[in-house]
Amino acid sequence: MKKSMEKNPYAKYEQHIDYTGKKIGMWFFLFTELLFFGGMFLLYSVYRYRYPDDFHTAAMGENIVIGSINTAVLLTSSLSIALSISAIEKGNRRLSVLLQILTILFGLVFLVNKYFEWTEKIFRGIYPNSPVLLNQGKGQTLFFSLYYVMTGIHGLHVLIGTIVISFMVVFTLKGVITRENFSKLENTGLYWHFVDIVWIYLFPLFYLIT
């Protein structure tokens, strides 16, 4: 690639990295993710409208303590990933790596909590298509089906997020992500915030509506 000259009208086309382009692409991707989750929220609203009492009763069975802890954990992880971006911007690679690892840990804590929540429910015989649930009526069956599907797919996104951030740790250590070129990390941060925001909506819909 030729060295781009000052005032070169083609500079945008000659340079390897189109920072804005990458960001636009990421926002588009998050937009499609929003619509993907939108399908689930749509189902939730339709069935909540149809079975308001059952949804109310079913939500009482949720463990609000674990739910609140998870909300706090995920919100804090959003802070740590944001700080890791600021750190790399200031050229502090070590701090950035530490903050990224911290974010991964928060993500894992969230998933472990979810694991305990799920196993406890399954132990009580509450899972899609379970005999216990089918006895409790259609509304509650739908509530818990939605609960498993929505938190499950959200959990999958958290898992993917932690894997992606682990790659970012490697990239930062190897010097692929630098002070000058950190758009990979920034886009990962955007993704992580998105996952966080989805949880901000899931939490009240399943835990706080009683």
Binding site: P9, Y10, K12, Y13, D18, T20, G21, I24, G25, F28, F29, F31, T32, E33, L35, F36, F37, G38, G39, M40, L42, L43, V46, Y47, Y51, P128, N129, L134, G137, K138, G139, T141, L142, S145, L146, Y148, V149, I153
Partner: protein
């Protein structure tokens, strides 16, 4: 192709040496042109399979039970639908012609995310492989129709989960292609290539890209629900567990109606390129044609309910959906009138690309106008679920998008492969195809109007004549296709070397060599006027 490059010293993208050799030189390539050519090859192969399955369906309908039983019939029409829709016509024009020509037409060297582009091609291959697997592994091939309507798709014994997962992967590929194209058009237009100077084909790809991003995720989550329903017994669409099958239809058509515009919008783009070139005129009403693409994309979002007029919906909802359906005909009409106005007093050369383009206008108009018939509530009650619908969407899909692919193939063949095909066989093939097409599908309008239901394996004797005419039409159509593709394949091997600009086109792809050099442009061009 190497020795025929003639006087130009630069090499074409076919001769570029990369890190890999053989098949990998193609599969690992991030060059938008190579990816486009690979997509084109895959699409046309699946088209051949889909046509063959369609021929078998037609053959069975002349004498039901002679070839195979009703269950096999269900499986064959389902596979025909899945292959034609998800593997051929939805990816269709954007992945093949869009990939090849979008960057060239806006004066760029590649798309915004070349590696993502390669990834979509791999996803497409993976999705196609999974769909193919669902046909052959233990158990029965899908038998639900391409729509996977619940609750049958949750209860049938067939390999639905696998087929649906394949379609999910294909959807992911489609989303990323749309994302890539929209970003490319925003970021990589050459200096001076303002929004109202980009060729109309690019405008339609832009609108299509948005529809791909906005609609496909809804299909993805709906398909996930089907898989979860089958694997874990989640009953979102199962009435016995409180679910609602109608909700499936809503979610499905929220995607699948806009998907019609994913197929047809870029087809309209191709026609908007071809008609002016062969009329030696500027495109009449460039801005109207460009903006009507966006209009179709936006209004097309709010019409999905017309697929469900008989499924159970309030009268208010039906009236509104019917009204918006009529609205979407307006921007389509704008385009038709503008194409015709472009040709008015033009110096028309009747070459094969124009013949295909004109048959697009004719057949798509029939498809569109019959769409208004079934978009009205009263006739819909009579015609819903009959052969009238089958005829209507084949006129739109095959007569519209399919003809545009053939038009684009004949228009851009010299540029993509650097060879000229013979004009006479192309015209003869076109004529036979056109006759066969109308026999095949117009008789379905009559059958449907007389009450023949779609997807039925057998029928009372009064429908026999109609089915016979239709089947004979399918043979004529197949002969036409054989001549057309035989001619093109022959040209690949023995065709004369194509000049850079055989048709006198004004867009950027005609200003570079045929086939294009690896980097498209030595210097990024500066644009000073509208090119189409």
């Amino acid at each position: 192709m190497t020795e025929e490059r003639g006087n130009s010293k630069e090499i074409s993208f076919y001769e570029e040496k990369g890190r890999y050799k053989g098949v990998l030189a193609w599969l690992m390539s991030t060059d938008h042109k190579r990816i486009g050519i690979q997509y084109l090859g895959a699409l046309l192969s699946f088209f051949a399979v889909g046509v063959s399955l369609g021929m078998i369906i037609r053959l069975s309908l002349v004498s039901p039970g002679w070839l195979f039983g009703a269950q096999t019939y269900d499986e064959i029409f389902t596979t025909h639908g899945i292959i034609m829709i998800f593997l051929f016509i939805i990816p269709g024009i954007p992945v093949a012609f869009g990939n090849f020509f979008l960057p060239i037409m806006i004066g760029a060297r590649d798309v915004a995310f070349p590696r993502l582009n390669r990834f979509t091609w791999w996803l497409y291959l993976a999705g196609a492989a999974i769909v193919a697997l669902s046909l052959f592994i233990h158990g029965e091939p899908p038998d639900t129709g391409w729509t996977f309507y619940a609750p049958y798709s949750i209860r049938t014994q067939a390999n639905i989960a696998l087929a649906v997962f394949g379609v999910f992967i294909l959807g992911f590929s489609s989303i990323l292609t749309g994302l890539n194209f929209v970003t490319t058009i925003h970021r990589l237009r050459a200096p001076g290539m303002t929004w109202f100077r980009i060729p109309v084909f690019v405008w339609t790809l832009y609108a299509t890209g948005w529809v791909q991003m906005l609609a496909t995720p809804v299909l993805a989550i709906t398909l996930v629900f089907i898989i979860l329903g089958r694997v874990f017994g989640v009953g979102f669409f199962d009435p016995s567990k409180g679910g609602d099958p109608i909700l499936y239809e809503h979610l499905f058509w929220t995607y699948s109606h806009p998907a019609v515009y994913i197929m047809v919008l870029p087809a309209m783009g191709i026609i908007s390129q071809i008609v002016p070139v062969f009329s030696r005129e500027k495109l009449f009403g460039y801005k109207a044609v460009a903006l009507s693409a966006l209009g179709i994309a936006i209004v097309g979002y709010f019409v999905w309910g017309h697929h469900m007029f008989t499924s159970g919906m309030s009268d208010t909802a039906r009236v509104i959906f019917s009204f918006i359906t009529f609205l979407v005909a307006v921007p389509s009409g704008v385009k038709i009138f503008n194409w015709v106005a472009t040709m008015y007093k033009g110096s028309i050369t009747v070459n094969s690309p124009l013949l295909f383009a004109l048959s697009f206008i004719f057949l798509f108009s029939i498809g569109g106008l019959t769409g208004l018939v079934i978009g009205s509530l009263a006739p819909n009650l009579h015609l819903h679920g009959t052969y009238f619908i089958v005829a209507h969407f084949h006129y739109v899909m095959f007569g519209g998008a399919g003809m545009a692919i053939l038009a684009g193939l004949h228009y851009w063949f010299p540029k993509m492969f650097g060879k000229m095909y013979k004009e006479r066989p192309a015209k003869i093939g076109w004529l036979i195809l056109f006759i066969g097409f109308n026999l095949l599908y117009f008789s379905m309008f009559v059958l449907g109007y007389n009450g023949m239901p779609r997807r039925y394996f057998d029928y009372p004797p009064q429908y026999f004549t109609g089915h016979l005419v239709s089947t004979i039409g399918s043979w004529i159509l197949a002969v036409g296709l054989l001549i057309i593709f035989g001619n093109l394949i022959r040209a690949l091997f023995t065709g004369e070397k194509a000049p850079a600009n055989p048709w006198g086109g004004r867009t950027l792809e005609w200003k570079i060599a045929s086939p294009p050099p690896p980097e498209n442009f030595k210097e990024i061009p500066v644009i000073k006027e509208t090119l189409s």
